[in-house]
Amino acid sequence: MSITVLYFASLRDAAGRDSEQLPLPASLRGLYDELRARHGFSLPAERLRVAVDGSFAAWDSPVHEGSEVAFIPPVSGG
């Protein structure tokens, strides 16, 4: 039972990787808080959006076996 988490920008630098496989979490919010503690992410969850399987999702969306989860730091394109 696992999911893939993708990291971008400052989260990738802090995590030292593009992605990792993790056990299926109880919630997206709990997952982020755990990863923030583990990797030392400076951004609180309030400043991020979350995407599941290539679409933006609500923080209380369910996570399924095999899902691809990405935490989206504030964007700076343009």
Binding site: S10, A51, G54, A70, I72, P73, V75, S76, G77, G78
Partner: protein, 139 residues
Amino acid sequence: MKRFAISAEPFEIAPLRQRLLADQAGAYASFEGWVRDHNEGQAVRGLFYESYRELAEAEGERILDEALQRFDISAAACVHRTGELAVGDLAVWVGASAAHRGPAFEACRWIIDEVKSRVPIWKREKYAEGEQSWLHPEN
């Protein structure tokens, strides 16, 4: 044909503009973002754009769909670079065509504002002093 694209290589504007030309359109407004030599008081040597490509392209298409609903325009398109860019390089282009100039300008401005606030693309600036930093605006 996709109307929003992420491009890892430099791209030409002329063919993109050409696709927006239409006999019923009398007005074309465009925007280009170039890499500036400074930002918030710091000298910038260049920058690196990273995207979450799948989500960026989906969100970019959604913005263009919304623009076509909101404004009385004929067509609109946008391309955003990723990768290493030097000062003066083209980072983003937006074009919109319409029968009248008001909607063309308004749609073009709205699209670039939405792209900058919603599309998962991140900029890392390389400063003249040698440091780098990711920009995660407070908005």
